[in-house]
């Protein structure tokens, strides 16, 4: 009787462990739609923060645990070679535009000149290009 119980318990643990491992291995990529933002700010302020001091801005905004909600005006919308939709937001600092990348395959509906609110995670700044955001979700 005891042996049976032990075997059932062991098999249950193996099955649950295997199920969790399988789920973790295959868990889908998710965007920032359901994440509570740590900072809410205009695109212009984000660009200006990186223009002022990239290291300080990295330390503040470039964290897996830090989500941003950005308000801005759409400059361009395009899909890159990786099939990622991109919304570039206007900023007043040259070379410090904010580029919001969506998960590959996700489509976005936005037009130049529209005011939008986008949630996502900041990945940093690249020369000549601007501040990049990933896993973005168009809130409105």
């Amino acid at each position: 009787m005891n042996k049976k119980v032990i075997i059932i318990v062991l098999l249950s643990i193996i099955a649950i462990g295997g199920g969790v491992a399988y789920y973790m291995w295959n868990k889908p990529k998710t965007n920032a739609a359901d994440v509570k933002p740590n900072y809410i700010l205009p695109a212009d302020s984000l660009g200006a923060a990186f223009a002022k001091n990239e290291d300080v801005a990295n330390a503040k905004f470039v964290k897996d645990s830090v989500a941003l909600e950005i308000q801005g005006v759409v400059d361009t919308v395009f899909v890159n070679e990786g099939n990622e939709s991109v919304i570039q937001l206007m900023t007043t600092t040259p070379d410090y535009a904010v580029k919001c990348y969506f998960l590959a395959g996700e489509t976005v509906n936005a037009n130049k000149g529209e005011k939008v609110v986008i949630k996502g995670f900041c990945t940093g700044y690249l020369m000549m290009d601007g501040v990049q955001m990933s896993k973005c979700a168009l809130i409105k």
Binding site: W25, N26, Y101, L126, Q132
Partner: protein, 181 residues
Amino acid sequence: MKKLILATALVAISFGASAQRYFSKTAHIKFFSHTSAEDIKADNYKSTIIIDQATGAVQVETLIKSFEFEKALMQEHFNENYLESDKYPKANFKGKGDFSKVNFSADGNYSVNVAGQMTMHGATKDVSAIATIKIAGGKIDGSTKFYVNPRDYNVQIPDVVKGQISEKIEVTVKATLQPLK
């Protein structure tokens, strides 16, 4: 003598007009790790490259969090455990290549030796590679391939997964370059 000065000045002006800078904001950087246990690849289509033909300077920048893996879990491990992208968000290469022989305004294929230093995960190492430049119908495509050892960049790989990550990771860079006006 006046004619010689004039001719020299004209050559200098024409060289100055043709030798310029070329760039891409959508360079594709791919890395590929092959072991008998597993193949791992990641793609980043949002890197920047700038080439200055006159000085030969080459600069590449890429954000670590922009590498996309097939599996979300792999991407998490890459960022959190190996490349520590919260702490080291950017990798870059600064080097030089002899682009003086490249005629960017006519069709042709060129091989250019590029050498410099790559900084990643807080470590800087010398890197050299042969870059290929193909010019066809006004389109300028550049590409190169080289190999890196994660240990050279102080990337700590736990013993339990050592057999799954190569010590010779293939890095491929491809970009369509445009003149910087």
